[in-house]
Amino acid sequence: MAEFINGTGRLVIVGNGMAGARVAEEVLARAGRERFEITMFGEEPWGNYNRILLSNVLNGSQDARDIFLNPLDWYADNQITLHAGDRVDSIDREAQVVRAASGLAVPYDMLVIATGSRAFVPRMDGLQSAEGGDRHGVFVFRTLEDCTRIAACATKCRQAAVIGGGLLGLEAARGLLNHGVGVHVVHLGAHLMDAQLDAPAGAVLRSTMERMGVHVHLEKNTTAILGEDQVTGLQFSDGSILPCDMVVISAGISPNAELAARCGLTVDRAIVVDDAMRSVDDPRIYAVGECAKHRGRCYGLVAPAWEQAAVAADQITGRNPEAAYQGSRVATKLKVMGVELASMGIRDAEHPGDEVLQYSEPKRGMYKKLVIREGVLVGAILLGDMSKATALLQAFDRSTPLPEERASLLFDLGAPSSEMTMLEMPDEAQVCNCNGVSKGAIRKCVMGGRRTLKGVMEATRAGTGCGSCKGLVHEIVEWACEGNVEEDPSVHYYVPGVPLSKKDLVRAIREQQLKSVSAVFNALAEGLEDAGSKMGLASLLKTLWGEEYEDERDARFINDRVHANIQKDRTFSVIPRIYGGVTSADQLRRIADVADKYQVPMVKITGGQRIDLLGITREDLPKVWQDLDMPSGHAYAKSFRTCKTCVGTEFCRYGVGDSTGLGIKIEQRFQGIESPGKLKLATAGCPRNCSEAMVKDIGAVAVEGGRWELYVGGAAGAHVRRGDLLCTVGSHEEALTLIGRFMQYYRENAKYLERTYGFVERIGIEAIRAIVVEDSEGIAERLDAAIQASVDAYVDPWLEAREPATVNQFHSVLQEVSA
């Protein structure tokens, strides 16, 4: 294994389905094209398509062309040799060669088996024709070709029986319904979709389906397909008969593991792999997707295959030798015959303390059930009403503590639901108000083949302005994909150009002592510089290294290169720091003099209680700063911005705490501290909250008894959110300590550009309180020391007026060349 730890050589992927192609994509994303000569084999004679959408092809709502994920060009563009329509027959592990049916032999250094699965066909009589071949009118539902043949046959038939009432069977039934044929679902179990639903949910689903015209036959064990040449019906073990003239068998899947078994790999129904997705017998061979068995489990869904492919790629390329697949918590959200349903985790209480919440309204086809263990969601079934599905899926995925008021998990209480359903929303409705993108444009983009939120956002620019519509864009993409949204792996990266999560990135930066942005690109991104990643990396490196950070000015946004905010006419706005918004006649006089001297076109009071001089040219910036003789207000940076204050006890007759005093101290201490997103603070002298401290990233509100309530995660910009109460403290000093500790925790753990309102919601206020206030992880002392180091490292950037950091820092046009 050691010789391949660097990940180079010949990589062969057997299987070109969703798992195989995903492995190829993940390997390419880790600079695999330079390191590997990649060869792929696929039994089907085309590129790779989205098998989940086959039922749309069957019901005619999508064209076969629309479900391709990677067309043949993609393979050529990425220098992958694809043998489409050729089956690999044997693997010679000794010689490290795969041999295909065509006689082709391809040597490998690394091999990935992603052969997927085929339809499981239960034993019954009459499956084959008299000559022993496949019987006319009997189908499985697995490939694009199956789809075409089923559709062609359905137009000539009157009654179609689908054997299997699981997810795939119902999808097939849905497809058939549109071909004008009578549809019967025959199921062995006592209720439909027994892998995902409990009995009451199955019953609700059954009546919904029957209303649509599907006949459901439960607890029927098919023993024979009747008829001489033509199919005439199904024979069941209870003696009854169902007349029909075509049969679709969709009774589950069976992993394609024969190839692996023949070359001596351990196969127990599927290929047995370890946490690295590697065969337990041969370190050069990996197995991914439906043909793999991990910790005793095979998965038939796409999300686990995605996760497995990422781990395999980390291992194969040597990018992360510690990458381990931990198994997937299976959660699905799908639409069966127009009925939306979601299922996650377990279906019933398993432990004595488990709580079960259940609500059923069969007439409307609605059913909801939650299983809660120790305050955390461990299972759920939702049918018919998906308004809570996204929130519950998140709570399940992240194991976040649930609210005490359990009813709010099932229903929107209080306000009537005014939200338009996606179907009702007109195509021309504007979704992204920054870039003017309509619902129709997003829908068309999805129809055009983009199935990731990121892909749609890039193509339409929806959600790329202020970002407040991103949730709605996500919902529309989800709706347009009918729930089959794919996840772009880069959403988990801290920055798009370095394929690592924030945690892994921080570890690599610390281990490898990477102190500049270009050092990170060289060590962790194959030397490939990415413009969109520079600012995020610069912010993180500054947080991690403080004074040791090797600043490269080209990694900064223009505002941070010249310490001012660029305006639409290419002039800049200059906002000097006015601590706590408390100024003096002397300061105001200087500002007025500057406004006169430089003929400043606009002088404005900002929302943060500061004075903004607008329309300053780049060349004048250093002179303006020197004349002002005030430090930078940092109104351009992703950093601590301002602390608004009210007058508090000094003058106000309601004030119960010295809010101006605390605000000034906060601002003197934290000025210029960089953070993943900007930090706007406020202090209020009483709960009347005139300085709006409840809707700030951090707010301190004085309460009677000399105490301060600290709120975090508030917002009143593109997103409006009331802050969560973090804790109550007894003094200014205590407030400064806790504010600093929260800031440092946010700096270290937030994603780049993630504001505190998103961060606090993502981590949860209880978890933050435990760490920051109660020191549950024993890191409080370290956080305090780290923020202190950043405070100590602060230098007013406007001092660069005297000593520019780079040549021509404040000049844009360097030369005039004339004839």
Binding site: A531, T806, V813, A819
Partner: protein, 113 residues
């Protein structure tokens, strides 16, 4: 601001030393009335393109650069500096041939690349 003249012999304009532009950044040059952004990239040499973003006149020279891609600071439109292509669709940038002499002088040709 200094003023230089066109080297008529080579039909190239001498823009002066590349060291006027900090590593990885861009600056503007007004050449025969035309405003041109010149980039001194890390590892990919020097590029010259139109200085104004065709979208809303953003200052391209102030954009962040990654490889040969520049991102306009106004609304994050992306362009390939080598070809001028707008990477998220729309109108592209004009490119101009530019080279750096052994002495570090930048020579720009106004002939559109």
């Amino acid at each position: 601001m200094t003023s230089a003249s066109v080297e008529h012999s080579a039909a190239e304009c001498d823009l002066g030393s590349v060291s006027q532009i900090p590593a990885g950044e861009g600056r503007e040059f007004r050449v025969l009335g035309r405003l041109i952004a010149v980039f001194n990239t890390r590892g990919r040499g020097v590029y010259a393109v139109d200085a104004l973003c065709p979208h809303r006149d953003g200052p391209i020279a102030d954009g962040l650069v990654g490889g040969s891609v520049v991102v306009c600071p106004f609304h994050a439109r992306k362009y390939d500096l080598a070809t001028g292509e707008a990477l998220d669709g729309g109108c592209g940038l004009r490119t101009y041939p530019i080279r750096v002499t052994a002495e570090g002088q930048m020579l720009l040709s106004l002939q559109v690349g």
